[in-house]
Subunit: 701 residues, 2 copies
């Protein structure tokens, strides 16, 4: 639909000449004007929802004061260069509070009134939940609660990582996050709380909009915790304030900016639907009904009027508010000019680092000498991945690799061995030990890449990709090219048994390969390489893929290499012939991952019977389907019988092998069992002998 | 493989005549003997892993003391009737600590030495991670960290719910949970912490085995929190002890049993691999390497010897340990006899409730008069679901319905309106407000059903089924017939946009329909009904499905009813003809959910063109594939052209429509967009007019 980084900032054409306050005017704005500006946000938010006939006005009205203080006095950004690397980042967690964000950004000049009027409409840039759009000030897509602030924490890590390499001059910005009751309840906020506290992310400042109301109930029905004590237990700096009070918000932000070793949580008690009135003029504040529906008719009119607006002409910025933000823009010009001067000075004195930084923030694929990768023959592909990761750790200085407490098993320790862990106070390492929290890890890696300057990869067992799906989906939607490393790819996990044996997961993640992102690309690139050498090629393709997330699926067990002389570079075509390129095969055997070598081991007996057999390795169905029809037909001619073998559900291969009398797929129909994997191979039929039997039987029909 | 409730308890043939201590001997066992018993567990655990050549000895050896105290002095169960409803439940969270559990259960007489020797082997009853097997004392399948203790919390709710209906006599047992560092890190433990604290589940007693070591690192690398303060912030009663000290464990359990209003967390500092020695005789305790691999050779021999065992004959129960557990069994006989006498008395005085209880615990489908359900024509299926839920709330007194803060949107409020919320101190209601924590909700509902006596359902938006997948998978593996209610089933979520529009989710969840559980059944039954009336039939089938979880997928938007006279009962066949039953149709239009009525709206124009059109509604592909070949062929004859329409990815319908020239599927290739759903219907082609155009175009080819 729209390029997430393209577009133009439509700065409002404001006359700012009369309002040139000095930089130190910051925070000196009159409280009355500040409240007027917050009311302006409230009116715009309520009006957007009213016009769209759907949306969430209550929360937006309650959070308006904080957003106004942050946007008009604290957030540092370049109005003329929204992608400036030195900008403070603002991550919204509760995406349903988009009216607040859009209204605030409109005061900042990033959206027009027409954009607000198009809220939630076809082809507008103001969708119901915000979608990544840095040129309009939107740093992350949000909606599924909890993930936004996890991305913020990831961005905070990225900044500290880059500061350790480039110095403080280039990395002096702050990461702000905004979270609501729902986000604080989401399981993931525990992962973020633990990790941000443990790593001492003092550059992370989070405002918790605590308004005691959520969609279905008052918050107290489901949450009766001491949130302050909880975050303090995680080593956060916690400040409790009236979240609708300008002076208290300022004081809290000032304290947060001074914090040197801990992330800050500002718990702001706010009033849901602050300023809202019902049709009869009674207070509508704190009412559950304002959470997820327009105020409606007379209530809307009464509210806008009471807030000092005109319901017949509600989409306006009040003059004094315009002045406020105009003055802030002037201030920002000076702040940014000073910062950019500092940056220029640094660049002059650090030419090499400066060039590196530009390269890192370009988002281009890093240059890698893949010849440095040495693979052992017949290795497990997770070990082959470790070989690649070792080279990446050496050659890609802006790469962070993570694991959810499985680094020695998912073999991300191939990366770790060449670096060390990120720790509180020391971000010179490049390995992120996330602990056992897969979803948090995934979202934080996404956040690192949203920050820019960093390439992030994260590993765990493939079966636990289930925990990460919500993050994979957001990464896919936002087109963030994070690398997901998933090992122990099938029942050959063996003794660990059904809870650890992925079966449906390959088909599941390949659904994202079949789904298009807004740019029309496969939303996730998926690779399951057939052996150690193919692993190198797939890692190369993964690193070159700067458009979408990449999933890399590796085996636990050793795999016999494909036949000598195999042209592995062809893996770039998604599927290719590894044996039996005869033009008229009797049957084509198709698989991905370790099943390719299992198929291969059955071919000798088949050939002895005079059967012309072709073997196709298909690490990426998505890439294969993007090749020319002619190429696809040359590898998998429609008319030829095809036999597929997969350690996943049979449906995993249906897209390549087909459905019907010319197709047969041998797959895993069950959750698997606990036993040594070679026993399972025998019991479940993943042997050359069974390939022979299955294919013979298939060809008879 | 094996019936999860079948099997026989193999009580060891012990001579207990010489050891008949009185009941009050409880806790009077000699510390020396208790330590000897714990060492016995350590030896068995290390030996199992050694023999299997894989597994996790370290944690098991550290936790042995707690397990021994719990099993030999506290846990109340009937050794001769493992399914006794009044038993204390023990839920293990870290499934990799199975050697500890199996060893402890062996002392209790639930496993034989042969079973232990078969640890992690094909077809054994001691798989690598425990699988639900109540007859052998295994109350839950575990492995993916965090979920086990969430199930325990669910079981604790179930008990309180049943106590509110049946009284304390029948529900005086306790729910014990065992969690490790990894589980405490998993995001889900926040959901459990919040909910169990908020609901005051004082019948929940959790031991946290805090041993400072996890798979990849020392725990302090990833976690530097004050866990005590965190749980206290959630309103838990927290006790810190030396988890290897018998006296401290006893004292903590005594205090927990007296707690009247809060769940208890016993934080036991334990020594990983307690008692383990390296090959050179130096201490192996607290060593990372003992987490996930056999002690190995000489280290194993040294360890067993040092612990007072014989490495050449390690699979034994020491005499004095046998005496200890034998005495406990005698005690239990008396404890259980006394309790069963109480129960019998209660049953005599409460015949009606007694019968109800038996019915509830039978696991049979409840009798429901579905004629009480009145559906409005052309209603949204989520509203139709609400109509069913209202009747279920009235007629199924042991049903609990939950929502993750969306009850007024996912329409589980149809249930809520007939009851009230479960709250601290009052479990007379039947609605569980889980707050925004989908995974926790799902696992807790599973736990409720594992407890027995309760039928659980839970709702949220379909797109958030992503968060629940890990739980859905475990429910499917364990064959727990929980009902998942997922509404807002497609892009017709509309204005909320791509983050809220499920696209790949139907195909994703239907992968579980294609996967078989250990009993050979489709592991999840999935229904996406076509209109309000079909919704009633699907809910009926869901309630009758006591074998597997059921997923019910409902629309946000209103749907035109299927043609007058449609025989909805046929939905029980998974797919059936709703229009155009002519024997030789030119084309068959296939869909599930609201797309059936969209297809139907295109048929008039097609028929005007003389095209013989059949329309098939396929709410459950899985059920359809379980019908006779003849029936399947009668509905979807292989040779006839088929056109499918789905609001999911095209692949969603490939199993029914096929792949190839005789098949065409119109589906959603993208994440969708934010706009009113009728606009999206037009823009994306989900209209009768487009059905006409697409089918005409298809038939031309």
């Amino acid at each position: 639909m729209r390029d997430k980084l393209a577009g133009e900032v439509r700065l409002l054409n404001l006359d700012i000449s009369h309002n040139q306050k000095p930089i130190n005017s910051i925070k000196m704005n009159d409280i009355k004007i500040m409240n007027r500006a917050a009311d302006n946000i409230r009116i715009l938010a309520a009006s957007m929802v009213e016009k769209a006939k759907s949306g969430h006005p209550g929360g937006a009205m309650g959070g308006a004061d904080f957003i106004n203080v942050l946007f008009s006095e604290y957030l540092v950004y370049d109005p003329e260069d929204p992608k400036w690397t030195g900008r403070d980042r603002f991550f919204l967690d509760p995406g349903h509070m988009s009216p607040m964000l859009y209204a605030g950004l409109t005061l900042r000049g990033f959206f027009s009134m027409d954009d607000l009027k198009q809220f939630r409409q076809w082809d507008s840039i103001t969708p119901g939940h915000p979608e990544l759009d840095i040129m309009h000030g939107i740093e992350n897509s949000s909606g599924p609660l909890g993930q936004g602030h996890a991305m913020a924490a990831g961005a905070a890590i990225a900044e500290k990582f880059l500061e350790a390499r480039l110095g403080k001059t280039m990395m002096q910005h702050k990461i702000y996050a905004y979270i609501s009751d729902g986000g604080v309840q989401e399981e993931i906020s525990q992962g973020v709380g633990r990790i941000a506290g443990n790593l001492g992310l003092n550059n992370l400042i989070m405002f918790y909009d605590s308004n005691d109301i959520q969609l279905s109930t008052e918050t107290k029905v489901v949450m009766n915790e001491n949130t302050k004590a909880k975050y303090e237990a995680w080593n956060w700096h916690v400040i409790e304030i009236n979240g609708n009070d300008v002076a208290e918000i300022r004081k809290a932000l000032d304290a947060a900016l001074k914090e040197e070793s801990r992330p800050t949580l500002i718990i702001g008690k706010t009033i849901m639907a602050k300023g809202a009135l019902m049709a009869d003029g009674a207070s509508y504040e704190g009412n559950l009904k304002t959470h997820g529906a327009p105020l409606g008719g007379d209530a809307y009119i009464k509210t806008v009027t009471s807030l000092g607006g005109n319901h017949e002409d509600a989409f306006v910025i009040f003059d004094e508010v315009e002045d406020l933000y105009c003055a802030r823009r002037e201030e920002l010009k000076k702040i940014v000019a000073a910062r950019k001067a500092e940056e220029a000075e640094w660049r002059k004195n650090n030419a090499e680092k400066s060039a590196l930084m530009d390269e890192w923030f370009s988002g281009k694929a890093p240059k890698i000498d893949w010849s440095k990768v040495t693979q052992k023959p017949n290795d497990a592909t997770r070990s082959a991945s470790a070989a690649c990761l070792g080279v990446l750790a050496e050659q890609v200085p802006n790469m962070i690799c993570a694991s959810a407490d499985l680094s020695n098993s998912d073999k991300t320790d191939g990366f770790l061995k060449k670096t060390h862990n990120l720790t509180r106070g020391d971000f010179s390492g490049a390995f992120f030990q996330a602990g056992v929290s897969e979803l948090t890890m995934a979202d934080m890696c996404i956040g690192m890449m949203l920050h820019g300057g960093v390439i992030a990869a994260c590993g765990t067992f493939f079966v636990f990709s289930d925990y990460m799906k919500p993050a994979v989906r957001l990464a896919a939607l936002m087109q963030v090219p994070v690398k997901f490393i998933w090992t122990h790819d099938a029942f050959r996990v063996g003794e660990d048994g059904p809870t650890h044996e992925p079966v449906e997961q390959e088909a599941q993640i390949r659904l994202m390969e079949k789904m298009k992102n807004h740019a029309g690309q496969d939303s996730v690139r998926v690779f399951r390489p057939a052996d150690a050498e193919e692993t190198t090629v797939c890692w190369k393709l993964a690193m070159e893929n700067t458009d979408t997330p990449t999933a890399l699926i590796f085996s636990r067990q050793a795999i016999a290499n494909l036949p000598e002389g195999n042209d592995y570079e062809q893996a770039a075509k998604g599927a290719y012939i590894v044996a039996g390129s005869d033009e008229n095969p009797d049957v084509i055997l198709v698989a991905s991952g370790s099943e390719v070598s299992t198929l291969e081991s059955g071919t000798e007996a088949l050939r002895k019977d005079g059967i012309k057999v072709r073997v196709v390795s298909a690490p990426s169905e998505g890439l294969f389907r993007s090749q020319s029809e002619a190429y696809q037909e040359s590898v998998l001619p429609f008319a030829v019988k095809k036999f597929g073998m997969t350690a996943g559900l049979p449906v995993t291969l249906e897209g390549l092998v087909g459905i019907g009398p010319n197709s047969k797929i041998f797959g895993m129909p069950s959750f698997g069992f606990s036993a040594p994997y070679k026993v399972l191979d025998e019991k479940l039929g993943y042997t050359g002998e069974n390939v022979y039997n299955q294919v013979k039987d298939f060809l008879k029909k």
